[in-house]
Symmetry: none
Subunit: 219 residues, 4 copies
């Protein structure tokens, strides 16, 4: 048989390429439109494939969504853990500041954070995903910050606050900004505008001051 010029792009792509293209397209569209409003066909088209092809790799829309969450959120949490672990000799104040700004740098400027919006919106319609998300995303992230605050208290850097509650208080503005970016922030509407960097700075300022502040300053 005579070798003929391939009339279409090489029929045998590297096996991993296709799924990745599909996951990328799905991430983009799920974040923009949410789970229900994203059409499988549009995902396929964005990935340069056909609907049928998508179903070769993912047996349902739900499984596609899970795969997107696993890949993106999982990776993110892993990396944040590595940052927190490599403590060096810095103070907890410094570490906390670094962790928060570092996380924001990563999450705040990518699509990944948008998945949290989608989970928030649809977790109640999607019960089987709930535990998965709690285990893979929520708990590890929370423990990262919790450990740091606990260590700060033990070292006498921070006041003796309720660790668990303070953690949520510390993280929530970050989460708020992350959600905002992929929701109201994406609508060009006056009133929804938030200066994310300034807000982050203000939060760090307030919360680190608050963590260190004298007890008598209160009330």
């Amino acid at each position: 048989m005579i070798a003929r010029a391939s009339p279409r792009p090489p029929a045998r792509r590297r096996k991993e390429v296709r799924p990745q293209q599909l996951l990328d397209a799905a991430l983009e569209l799920f974040v923009e439109k949410g789970f229900a409003a994203t059409r499988i066909e549009e995902v396929a088209r964005h990935a340069g494939a056909s609907k049928g092809t998508l179903y070769l790799y993912y047996p349902s829309k739900e499984e596609l969504f899970k795969a997107v969450v696993r890949q993106n959120m999982g990776k993110l949490i892993g990396e944040a853990g590595a940052v927190a672990a490599g403590a060096g000799g810095r103070s907890c104040t410094e570490l906390l500041r670094e962790l928060l700004t570092g996380w924001w740098a990563r999450v705040g400027h990518s699509q990944v954070g948008g998945l949290h919006k989608v989970m928030l919106a649809e977790v109640r319609n999607f019960p089987e995903l709930a535990q998965f998300y709690a285990d893979e995303v929520i708990t590890p992230a929370r423990e990262l910050f919790q450990d740091l605050i606990r260590r700060g208290i033990e070292r006498g850097e921070f006041r003796r606050v309720d660790v668990r509650a303070a953690t949520v208080a510390v993280m929530s503005p970050l989460i708020f900004l992350m959600l905002h970016r992929h929701s109201f922030g994406a609508c060009a509407v006056q009133g929804f505008d938030v200066d994310t960097d300034a807000t982050l700075a203000a939060h760090l300022d307030l919360v680190l001051t608050g963590l260190q502040g004298e007890v008598e300053a209160r009330r």
Copy 2:
């Protein structure tokens, strides 16, 4: 008490009660499932009516949703404004604490806050609702808090922070708790549990300390 099958509900209810029944059912279901996933027929059934009856009062699903937002969010914002206006002779610290806890008492234990989750999730698919929500809900709420912080700075109670950014930082944990309650918090899954009251207390503690704290305490 014995439930009796009423084969046909009274044909003429008082004209005024139907819309309220429908709005109540719609609030409940929109908060639970979101806008897209809520079926008109289920709303009607929850209100003890039929599909057709709902359309006697609201010309479309979208208008029904708007009516729900207007009634619930609008009322809420109005009341919060009244609280902030009736200042009395109290300090800004006290007022801010009161506004935040008062708001939470109201929002945190009703379904209303869940509407924010729905807006967050679907505003990008719903462009005509965006400006409405910004004008009716976001802007008034933000200004309430902003004015209070600005006044605190002018009176020398608070440090000279970026007012706009600090406002977001102050409000965001409340919003976080509100969202959480109607999303992950509604899933009986370990890892998602948040002690909302303790978190609110910790936030107040940190943020009020932070607002009052000495500049030299930082860094």
Copy 3:
């Protein structure tokens, strides 16, 4: 009991008033929109009544339509018959001209002709109305013209044409104009415009000339 000023129009209208108002409204709307596209509620509202009231007089939309046809078309045919009967000493040419222009004067400027459009459009979906319409409208109208043409031939005024076919040929432009008026003619669109009076004149001219013309003029 004290006589009180009646807070609403006299509750007891003359019995015949209501049905007539309903029939008038129905004629108007059926002609404009057709049978299927006319909503019962709109008919009632145009008659200043409520939907329920309409059903007091007519048990279904279909019966309402029949009543409209009966009243309007029936009356029309009766009157045309009277005109043709009162022949006087005029020639058939004159009578035919008079019948055609007289009919047009009556039908061409009222809504009644529009009912023929509706029948034309929906008779196939409405089989039970077909025979009624044939008997009450089509056949009497046809016979009116047929008799006149036959008489004209017998008297030697007209050529010996196929009476039945000539009748259709003579009437059809009238019917065309009548249909046009309530269909394309009601759309403000260039291309649909027809000068009905000139067309009628041209038709009379051609067809009367044709009826009288010498055989040898043809071919």
Copy 4:
């Protein structure tokens, strides 16, 4: 030949045949029932397809209807134009006779003419279709006949009649027959019966005689 139940039609028909099958079924049903009364699902079933398949090819019922009109009416007008253009050396009388009988041969025995009934019935509820139909069908058809009559006058074959009005008078019996065939004529009811060929002959006879007749023959 034994009909065998095919539990599922061949999944991949040739892409080109589907639209035609759908257009054929749509033509049939639209002509029989009209636009509003024709259900999309029935069209699909008549074409041996499902509802969803129809929507693969036509994005709405309205577009399907337009496609039917375009294909059938457009083709028809084009062919009639070709006939009129290829004049040869024949007289205008001959050409007009030929155009009218030729057109009837084509339209009178197909479903196509029924589309005019549907347009007539529903154009007022369908404003966007009006201009389309005027441009694509009404105007070209009218001009065909108008030009011929004008030429006949110029050559001295015909009397000096109002061209525009005479055109309508000449065409209207054809249109009448065309409408009749798909409306009253399709109902097996005594009184509606029209001998179309005889009527056409009578019309030609009258109208050609009339066009050629001496002025003094009148009155």
